[in-house]
């Protein structure tokens, strides 16, 4: 029984690590601009679909992944430049609609370009499972957790130790004040979109070997990333990572012990309860000083 429990725990942590990457993407954009990017899930899908199309076209795996991540980053940049910036609005509703619209454009483009089918992507190493205390662990899961960990540590260093990262934090605290001391807040916004697109694409290409991907896979992944970010209190990087991992484990346990059919609903039931009981997240304070 213990080995079975461990199996579910590992599966949950694996998926949770990709939720954490998605949640970090939300957190980044939220910190830079105070907005929620509803196209985050489409970045995850776009990275995975582009990579699988390149592999299918005969490109070597690693360069396919690199091109897919670079391309998705470019799309994120373009989205900020051509959809978000021209709007010059601070209305939350308008910004939600803009990012939703941009997400639909990405989704439709992938549907036209790559069709409606499910696409597979090979993992980073062979897929012979490892044995951990009687539980099977796919090598890809180790890659996911390892790479996610490296990304989280790098982001941490970036926000706390580099001028550029500090500018982003400053913008999140007070946009006007940041502008007054000479920070290019528009640049920060564009950069945060590009970076969050990159994070989404990395999560996408890591997860696809485990789950398959399709043009419509982004919506659910993106929404769950948002739930994870909200768990940790929007705006906290640590919260986003803990929230992502927690959501993955809760989902996995629900599928195992309660109902496999309703595992997707758990995130949404929890988020509604969370908003009603603790609107600032489980780990978020009213204002987060350090990201």
């Amino acid at each position: 029984m213990l080995s079975q429990f461990l199996q579910f725990l590992l599966a949950g942590l694996t998926v949770g690590a990709t939720y954490a990457l998605a949640a970090l993407g939300y957190t980044l954009v939220y910190n830079a601009s105070g907005m929620i990017n509803f196209a985050q899930g489409e970045f995850i899908m776009l990275g995975a679909m582009t990579a699988s199309a390149l592999v299918a076209a005969g490109f070597p795996l690693l360069s396919s992944l690199a091109i897919a991540i670079a391309f998705t980053t470019l799309v994120g940049f373009a989205m900020a430049k051509f959809a978000v910036e021209p709007a010059r609005t601070t209305s939350m509703t308008s910004l939600i609609i803009i990012t939703l619209g941009a997400g639909q454009v990405i989704r439709g483009a992938v549907e036209i370009g790559l069709g409606k089918g499910n696409h597979a992507l090979p993992g980073l190493s062979d897929d012979r499972p490892l044995n951990v205390l009687g539980a099977a662990l796919a090598p890809q899961a180790l890659w996911i957790m390892g790479i996610s960990l490296v990304i989280v540590i790098t982001l941490f260093w970036y926000f706390n130790s580099t001028m550029h990262g500090k500018a982003l934090v400053a913008t999140s605290h007070n946009r006007l004040a940041a502008q007054l001391v000479g920070i290019n807040t528009m640049g920060v916004l564009t950069f945060s979109f590009a970076l969050s697109a990159a994070l989404g694409a990395i999560g996408g290409v890591l997860l696809a070997p485990i789950t398959f991907t399709s043009y419509s896979a982004g919506t659910m992944l993106g929404l769950k990333g948002f739930v994870a970010a909200a768990f940790g209190g929007l705006g906290s990087s640590v919260g986003a990572v803990v929230g992502g991992l927690a959501l993955g484990v809760i989902e996995s346990m629900t599928a195992a012990y309660i109902s496999a059919a309703y595992k997707d609903a758990v995130a949404f039931v929890l988020i509604i309860l969370l908003f009603l009981l603790a609107p600032h997240g489980l780990l978020g304070a009213k204002t987060s000083d350090r990201v």
Binding site: M35, I96, A102, Q104, I106, R107, G108, K116, F275, P279
Partner: protein, 312 residues
């Protein structure tokens, strides 16, 4: 807007709806018209909630789907009369909306967006998974709409029914908007604090309009199921919710004429583009982004402002 011009507008709409069958539309055009009108009625309800009161709802198709499936399941598995099933569906949806309205509408901004979105998704997950009742993702057939022995069949009859409902909806919404209650809605959109100070019971107004828009969506969902004689979980899905929202935004926030135009545009357009896969999704996305950039208030209010500026 004077009383007489209000009636003139509704008269014009009634005339247009009455003339349409005389143009000899074929089955395809009738079908498009019926689906457009069903959307328009739902969008008028949603506009009261979102356009006038400023409460975003990204899960509204959930209520529509509940209506569709109440009619489908109760009529198929329990053998109830369609009208009774429709009423039960509307009452159940209204009750659900009433129970969740207070806590959910206390949220703001993206918390509200996320909570309503989550609600819609939960509903569509339930419809997808309760396969023994709903047929799961394959959907299920819905019996034809009937009252007693009389069955509602044929394009023209359906068209007349939904047209009548549209006129009632436009008339009711117009009156509501110009009543003190309607001004209270718009005050809430402007500033909740100010509305509260002015003595408006903000929470109760928000709950009422939320329940009203949910019930309207449920009733139209029931009728849509009977009309198509089929129900799929897509009717409650995220994409449908966004589409309804887009109709409000593109046509014009806080504009009943805008709701009609938005429903026409976004029902007819995907049909025109359905020839190539994914094209409708791209165009739909571009319309959303472009509307927000160039006409943040939607088509009708923007045009109205331009006209006013030209005249002055």
């Amino acid at each position: 807007m004077t009383i007489s011009s209000r009636f003139a507008g509704i008269g014009l709409l009634a005339a247009g709806l009455a003339i349409f069958p005389l143009l000899g539309p074929n089955a395809f055009v009738y079908d498009l018209a019926i689906r457009t009108i069903i959307n328009a009625v739902v969008v008028i309800g949603l506009n009261l909630l979102f356009g006038y009161t400023g409460q975003i709802s990204l899960g509204h198709a959930g209520f529509l789907g509940l209506g569709t499936y109440a009619s489908a399941v109760l009529a198929t598995h329990a053998g109830w009369a369609p009208l009774v099933a429709l009423g039960i569906g509307a009452a159940g949806t209204g009750l659900l909306a009433f129970l969740i309205a207070r806590p959910i509408l206390s949220l703001k901004g993206h918390h509200l967006a996320m909570a309503t979105l989550g609600l819609g998704i939960i509903i569509s997950i339930v419809l997808n998974n309760e396969t023994q009742y709903t047929g799961g993702s394959d959907g299920m057939s819905v019996p034809a709409f009937a009252i007693g022995q009389w069955q509602l069949r044929g394009d023209r009859n359906w068209y007349l029914l939904v047209s009548a409902l549209l006129l009632i909806a436009v008339w009711a919404a117009t009156n509501l908007v110009h009543s003190p209650a309607g001004r209270a809605l718009q005050a809430i959109h402007g500033s909740e604090v100010a509305a509260r100070v002015a003595g408006i019971d903000v929470t109760s107004v928000k709950v009422k309009v939320f329940v009203l828009s949910a019930v309207v969506a449920s009733v139209m969902g029931s009728l849509e199921g009977h009309y198509l004689e089929f129900a799929t979980p897509d009717s409650a899905g995220f994409v449908r919710s966004i589409l309804l929202m887009a109709m409000v935004i593109v046509g014009g926030m806080a504009s009943i004429v805008g709701s009609l135009i938005g429903a026409v545009m976004l029902t007819v357009l995907p049909q025109a583009l359905s020839a190539f896969q994914g094209g409708e999704t791209i165009v739909f996305g571009i319309i959303l982004v472009a509307t927000m950039i160039f006409m943040p208030n939607g088509l009708v209010p923007t045009v109205r402002d331009r006209m006013a500026r030209l005249q002055s």
